[in-house]
Every structure is written in structure tokens, then in C-alpha cells.
Symmetry: C2
Subunit: 519 residues, 2 copies
């Protein structure tokens, strides 16, 4: 046998799985492995047990082991190397990783990732400074401004039928009868508890309800944070954003008077090897699932980002827009799970738009204690914008466990649509479906010489496809997500996988396939 | 007969009342009189017909005429002079008043009120510049942060049972079933139409639904306006507030980084004879019912304020917090009704907290076209914070006409409580009940030498009154509403007239009466 894990002694891996616990078995195993790596019991470069052997030893299905390993590979804890099996990511270096969710960052300044800060490329990010422009030409945030039919492939349309279920209606009935006073500034206490528990189960954070503030969505949460930062740092904040990136939060920062600085992104997400020093007040990142290119920020980069933020006093906004809908492995733990709950840098913004309904206009932010003390007095003076009826209904709904069941349904339906996309575009000329580990949208990349021009022509042809769909297909140019039209950027189109009707979705995909044959 | 109106020829007053119209007869008559005055058919100093004579001529009850005259006296159009009857306010001068709601301000720069701008006192306001402090010690905005019992006389608690009625529950049932997409950035179109119509009927504005933006309440609306102004005027806005005044919106301005400038108030409201030039970006006023002293801004001051705002480019925020609950006469027309709908200065902030329920966390702003064009793109980028479920439910509820019925009920209950207060405190030593034309609170003023000290001692004794009321009575010091402790300010206490239970209210008033006997 050439199993490297065996060679190096998997006996030191002590795992106890509890079938009665709320946390699924793969998540329990992943947590145990994370802890072993964090504590140094498993060292960088060292192999982990083969999945079949470990499954047999623990008495669980092999799929449990595979799912946990996939999760840890996605997070950057593990790496699958051809011919060597699965091993602890050698890039983790020799320093201890702060324990997920319980980390005390004292002394973490000593943690260094080789070849990171100050590496070639440092000048690049700081040099790419520019003010944001309008966001109007980009993937539309579909709101009801236009009550007309929605284009079937527009990015940003969620796929959820939560609101058609009895649990949803029952929660509202109770809330309408019960809500009789102004919503608490920081949020309904029961809702804050439910959100903290939800985040613990699906996002790997271990944080108290006090760290949760109920918001009217990610944009409103960012607005609160910017207002609060403005009171201490003065106005004219400088905000770093991923380029390419989703225009929504960038637009909020610009409207709050912030100067926007573009930060470069590669296939794994934000490049952390050249983050500027002394320039930014705040940086907005999508570590779970970079928008639109889809990378998941590896653990070494997460650590480097947090280290940089802690050193420079930058607030890191984690835009956690669709991590719960990941369909390969479980959702990645939030960046906040690595942060110091007392003196940390990460504010996680979440929303229930894609998991329940965008009609709700409700979300949350999760902030460590030091940042909470900045946010709380501001929120008290501004008041909560989220109706007490909405908050009580949502708290009741979460308490039923129905949200997690709905997320599981949505994941299954997304996976089916992802498979349909992979299958339908497999043979298209010069088209590559970007690997999709989750999310609400797909990216088709174009290869070949005319790729850049093809992008615009395909989007226009899709907009003219109005026989079956009154307002066209609604796809967006991939290039539109770049603030700076870099010559080496990818070309292609972004299409949403939302919308309630499977048949309509399939028909729209077929139309797009035909367009790609012709254009 | 010495009726001056007869002498001067009431025949020129042409009034047609329509019993089938939605607008009540007194409001129709008031509108006709306003129009006659605006058009110069009735001139300043000229008498109007005696109520009995006009009632007989028009074939209506005399109460209709009296109500219309009271309304116009409150607005400053008419004046009741001892021995001369009722006449058109001589202070209106000779210039034409812009027609309510349809005014085109072209040429209005020529409108002058004698002895106004530049009169003694100009220096006073600009000299009283100070940053706002904390708002924590003032009348608590009761939100559910503390789920414990509410003090029965705390200012800010509404008196409404709208949510216990079937129309309310039916509206929500329909909304929960129907809402399926993100709320439109500017608000649900049906809700905007209903609000515009409601404002037309009860606030005297004649403005299209396009001028309405749905907000999460007055504070959220002000936040939007400040954010939008910041994008064009840069940060470090300077905001004028009434002193004394309600701390809520002042706190929002401070949190948005504004410098707060105090403006003096007298018994009629904001003093407009010394408004500073070239200092302010925005001024927040309560023209319908000054908080807490209760004056209603007379028409000459309203015109002077608008004139000044138009000349200096200042945005006037009309905090229309309780005008609908006025119990003497109809509610005053909004300041916005005098403003230019195309190039005006007034943004009216309203809320449904006191007329429906504070649990709703929904309100609106009304802005003229020029200011809308500033607000709309910002709102599109920030998104609506108000759940589509809330908006659709509220639109349906307004469409039933139930809100106006509820307002009528609340007014009757408020009037009864006001009468109880007047009666119970009539004999108290050195206590004067300030005249109350409406509103959610009452002011007891203290006279005599120890008034200033008595204020604090009464509030403290009321807070200790915990035998029948677990958290005390919850009244506030009148002095707490002044930012600058001017030596000639009034002393007394502010008490809320809200809370659902009439018996509890009466018991709390009795306790307070006993305290005032002893302290």
C-alpha cells in the first residue's frame, strides 16, 4: 500500500462522532480535523487517513469521510495531491492556526505565511485606485419596480418556495397577532438567538446572540457600519472592493461618500499578497464564493487577510451572500469563524433573500465585541428599520427548523440546474462552464479569438429572445463585473439559476444554447 | 349688526360644497377660503362672514363653518380679534400667497412679510451653535429592547388598537400570500398611491404618488436624505434643529456626521425672524405641533421659512410626527402644501407608528421633484429597507379606509384623556396645563419660585412610584428637551397620553396628581 497517511501514523487522529448531535457527521469530522490541525497534532504536509480506512475505523459510510475532506480541501486545510493522496496543506506553514470560532488572537501577529505580504504585486493593488461608476448597467437587482415578467436567466433571482409552505404562513399569523411595539434597535431577542444558532450550525461560528444585529439586508447592514465608522474615523472613508465583483455593496459604499479602491482577484478569490498598507478603512470580500468567478478563499489567504486587517486596523466586511446554498460539501465556515470574537476585524453580512424570499428584506450582521460597541449606540439612535412583525415571524420560522429544510430543498434544485447547464453547454463551441461549487449563478467562459466581442453579442441576442420570454433571457456580460477592463480578464456571460419554474428554466437554457451555436 | 364681514361684502365669497365628495365639508370650505385669500379675492384685514350667517346661506350646520374657521386660524390664514370678529390675518401683507399644493414659486421671491428677515435676533440663532450631545437621558423611544412593562405616562407610547381589528389581520394574510419579490427601491406602487391620497385628504397636499418614497420611519427617511445630500454637498453637513425639540431626528443627524445648530423656538414654534444665512444645509422643523411646547407655526412664519429656504438653498425637513392626531379642528395642512412641487425645499417625514402601530416600522417621505431626483438614485443603490410583505399589507389596509377610521377613534380617545388631564390638574398648586390642540403628550408647566428644582423632584418621585407601576410613571423633565439651558426656559414635566388601557392611564394620572400635591 502506498497510502501516505498510513505511513505517517493516522493513529494520532482521535475523532469521536456523535450521531445524536445536531451537527451532521461530516461537519463533526471536519471540525475534529480542523482542531487537530490547529493544535498541531496534524502537521502541514502530513497525510490524513484514506477515506475507506477511516470510514471503516469510525463505523460510518465512506461518503461521510469524503464530504469532510472535500470541505477541508475547499477551506484550504487539506490538499489533494496527485499520487500522494490527501494531506494537510503544506502552505499552512509551521504556525498554529487560531481555533475556529474560539480563537484568541493574542500573539497571532507572529503568524506568517511564507512569501505573502510584500511579495511581487504589492504595488498593483494600491495603484489601481478609482471611483466607482454607476451600477446601472450591471446584473439587475430584481425588485418589483417593474411588475412585468422577470427574465428567466437574470442573475440575482432566487430559487425558493419557502413562502408557499404552511410553516411560513403560520409564523406570520402569530407575529401579526403578537407584535405591538417598536422593534428593538438591535433586533428581536428571539430572532438574534435563532440567527446565532443558525450561523453556528451552517457557518461554523460559535458566537453569542449579542454579536448579531438584525438588518434590512446586506446593503442596509453595510450602511449602518459605514455610518458608525464615519462617526469615529471621520468622513471620506476608503473602501477596498474585489475587482471583478458584485456592484451592490460597492454602490452602497460610494453612496456613503467612500472612495472605492479596486483589489485584484484570481481564481481562488481576493489576492492577499499585495494588500495596501495604511490606505483602507474597510475591505469588502466574498471569501466563500467570489462573485462572479466563484473561487473560495483558501485558508492561507484567509489568515493573511485577517492578519493584515488586525495589523492595519482595517474592518473586513464578509459578504456572505450565498454560502448556505453551496452544493458541493457543506457550506464553508464563515471568515468570521477564524476571527477574534472580542477584538476582531470581521463583520459578516447575511441575508434571507436567497434562502427564504427577497420579499422579506431582512438580514443580519455578525460583529465581534469591539466593533459591536461601535455599532450599537449608532443603531440605538437610528432605530431598527425592520418591522417587529417581520422579525417575530422570521424568529418563529427559524425556530421550526423549516429554514434548514428549505435550504436543503433549494440546494437539491440548484444542483439539478447546475447539472443541466453542464450537460447542455458541454458541446458548445469555445464555451467552458466554470466549475460551480454552489451559488445562484453560473458563468460560461468564452475561449478563442473573438471571445471579447462574442460576449456583448450573445448578451444582446439573449435580450432580443422575446418570443417565449417577453423581456428576453436577462443574462449579463461577465466583463461588466470588472471595474477596470484589464486586458487579461475572462470573457463570457453570467446567468442566474433562480426562478421558480423548472420547465421555464430548461426552456431558457435551450434558447441560450441555440444562441451560442449561432453567435 | 356689527359683523365686519357683512360690512365688507361677504357676497364675493363664492363657495360650492359637495356633500358627495370624499373631503369633509369643513375641509372643503377651508380649501375654498384658502383659495380666495391666495387669489386676493379676500384681502388681509378683511372680515369673513359670521359663522351663523354663512351656515344659513350654505345650508350646512354652523359647526361646519366654525371648524373651517378654527382650522384657518390655526394655520394663520384667519385671525379672531376681540370685538372685530374673524378676519383675514392682516400680517399676510399684500403679496399673493402661493396656492396650496399647486404653487409655482416663480416670482415668489417678491413675497415679503413685514419686519421679518433681518429683524433683531438675526445674530442670535447663528450664535447658538453647538454639537448635540447624547440623547440617552431624554424621553425614551420605547422599543422592545426591554420586554418588561412600560411606564404608563412615558412620552412616545402610542394609543392605537388598529392591530386588534380584522381589517389588519386580513391585510397581512393577503400580503403574506402575495409578496414574492424584493420591495421596489422607492416603495410598492400601490402603497405610494395610497399614501399620496391619504396626504391629500388629511394633510392638504395635492401631490402625485411619484413624490412619495416609502421609508422605515421618520428616522430612516432622514438618514436617506442626509446620505443623498452628502453625495452632492460633501460631508460635514450643518443641520439646524428647534431648541427645545425632540431628540430623535437630531440624533440621526449627529450620527450622520452633521454639525447641529440650535434654533430658537417660542410659543408659536420656530422663530423665523433670525434664520442664519449661508450656514445651514438642512433644518428640521415641527410646524404642525412643535415638540414639546405645542405651538403651530403660523402662516406668515411658514412663508418666511420657505422664502428663506428657497433663497439660501436650505432643505426644510418637516417632521410631521403627530399632525393627524390633532383633536381641535382638522389637522393643519402640511408645510409641504405651500411648497413648490417642482423646485421646492420641503421634505415631509411621516410615520404610521402613532396611527397604526410602532411595530410596523414604516413611514414615508414626500419630496418635490428637484429633491426626488437627488433621492431616487441613492435609494436605488441602497435598496428599500421595508419588507414587501409590510408594504403590501399596509397598502391593502389603507385601501380599506380603515386608517382614517382608526385615526378618528384615536383622536376621540386622546381628547378624552386630554380632558381628564385638564380636569385632574386644574387645582394643583403652581401647575398649568399647556393648551393642547393635539398630539400624543401633555405638558404641565410649573410656576413659582422653586419651579426649576421642582421639575427634577417630580420626575424622580414619579420614577419611584413603583407600587402600582413596576417601572414607575415614566414622565420626563421639560427642561431635558432644551439643548441649551436658557435662563428663561419653561419648567415642568412632559407626560405621554398613550398606552392601550384607559383605567391604567387614569390611575397613573391620579398618582401624578398626588405627587404634585406633595412635591
Amino acid at each position: 500500500m502506498t497510502d501516505p497517511a498510513r505511513r505517517r501514523g493516522p493513529a494520532e487522529l482521535v475523532v469521536e462522532l456523535d450521531r445524536a448531535a445536531a451537527l451532521p457527521l461530516p461537519a463533526q469530522l471536519a471540525a475534529a480535523l480542523r482542531e487537530s490541525i490547529d493544535a498541531g497534532r496534524l502537521r502541514p504536509g502530513e497525510g490524513v487517513p484514506a477515506s475507506r480506512a477511516l470510514a471503516s475505523r469510525l463505523g460510518v459510510a465512506r461518503g461521510v469521510i469524503v464530504a469532510a475532506y472535500e470541505q477541508l480541501i475547499a477551506e484550504g486545510y487539506l490538499r489533494a495531491e496527485h499520487g500522494r493522496g490527501t494531506l494537510v496543506n503544506p502552505d499552512l506553514g509551521t504556525a498554529a492556526v487560531p481555533a475556529s470560532g474560539h480563537a484568541d488572537r493574542a500573539g497571532s501577529g507572529a503568524v506568517r505565511v511564507p512569501g505573502a505580504v510584500g511579495a511581487p504585486g504589492s504595488a498593483g493593488a494600491a495603484g489601481r485606485v478609482g471611483l466607482t461608476g454607476t451600477t446601472g448597467t450591471l446584473a439587475p437587482m430584481l425588485d418589483g419596480d417593474d411588475p412585468a415578467p422577470r427574465p428567466p436567466l437574470a442573475p440575482g433571482t432566487p430559487l425558493t418556495d419557502a413562502t408557499e409552505r404552511p410553516a411560513w404562513r403560520a409564523a406570520w399569523r402569530a407575529a401579526v397577532a403578537r407584535a405591538d411595539r417598536r422593534p428593538p434597535a438591535l433586533g428581536d431577542p428571539a430572532l438574534r438567538r435563532e440567527i446565532a444558532e443558525h450561523l453556528r450550525l451552517v457557518r461554523g461560528t460559535a458566537r453569542p446572540a449579542d454579536d448579531v444585529i438584525v438588518t434590512a439586508g446586506a446593503r442596509e447592514g453595510l450602511g449602518l457600519l459605514l455610518t458608525a465608522l464615519g462617526t469615529t474615523r471621520g468622513h471620506g472613508l476608503v473602501v477596498g472592493v474585489e475587482d471583478p465583483g458584485y456592484p451592490s455593496l460597492r454602490g452602497v459604499a460610494a453612496r456613503h461618500g467612500a472612495r472605492i479602491v479596486s483589489l485584484p482577484v484570481d481564481a481562488e478569490g481576493l489576492r492577499t499578497d499585495g494588500l495596501p498598507e495604511g490606505l483602507l478603512d474597510l475591505v469588502i470580500v466574498t471569501p466563500s464564493h467570489q462573485y462572479p468567478v466563484g473561487g473560495s478563499l483558501p485558508l492561507p489567504r484567509r489568515r493573511e487577510l485577517l492578519d493584515w486587517a488586525s495589523r492595519t486596523g482595517v474592518v473586513v466586511v464578509e459578504d456572505d451572500y450565498d454560502s448556505e446554498l453551496r452544493h458541493v460539501g457543506g457550506p464553508l465556515p464563515a471568515l468570521a469563524a477564524l476571527d477574534d470574537p472580542r477584538a476582531g476585524s470581521v463583520v459578516t453580512l447575511g441575508t434571507f433573500s436567497s434562502t427564504v424570499t427577497p420579499a422579506l428584506a431582512a438580514g443580519f450582521l455578525l460583529a465581534p465585541r469591539n466593533l459591536r460597541s461601535l455599532l450599537e449606540p449608532v443603531r440605538h439612535d437610528l432605530g431598527s428599520p425592520v418591522s417587529a412583525v417581520v422579525q417575530i415571524a422570521l424568529a418563529d420560522y427559524l425556530a421550526t427548523g423549516e429554514l434548514r429544510r428549505n435550504i436543503a430543498r433549494v440546494r437539491r434544485r440548484h444542483a439539478a440546474r447546475r447539472d443541466l447547464i453542464s450537460e447542455r453547454f458541454a458541446g458548445s463551441r469555445d464555451v467552458r462552464v466554470r466549475p460551480m461549487s454552489g451559488g445562484l449563478h453560473a458563468v460560461l467562459e468564452f475561449a478563442g479569438e473573438g471571445a471579447r466581442r462574442r460576449e456583448a453579442r450573445v448578451v444582446e441576442a439573449a435580450a432580443r429572445e422575446t418570443t417565449a420570454f417577453p423581456v428576453g433571457l436577462g443574462i449579463a456580460e461577465l466583463g461588466a463585473y470588472w471595474q477596470h477592463r484589464s486586458p487579461d480578464r475572462a470573457s463570457g456571460v453570467v446567468l442566474g439559476m433562480g426562478g421558480p419554474d423548472d420547465d421555464e428554466f430548461a426552456a431558457a437554457i435551450e434558447r441560450l444554447r441555440r444562441i451560442l451555436l449561432a453567435v
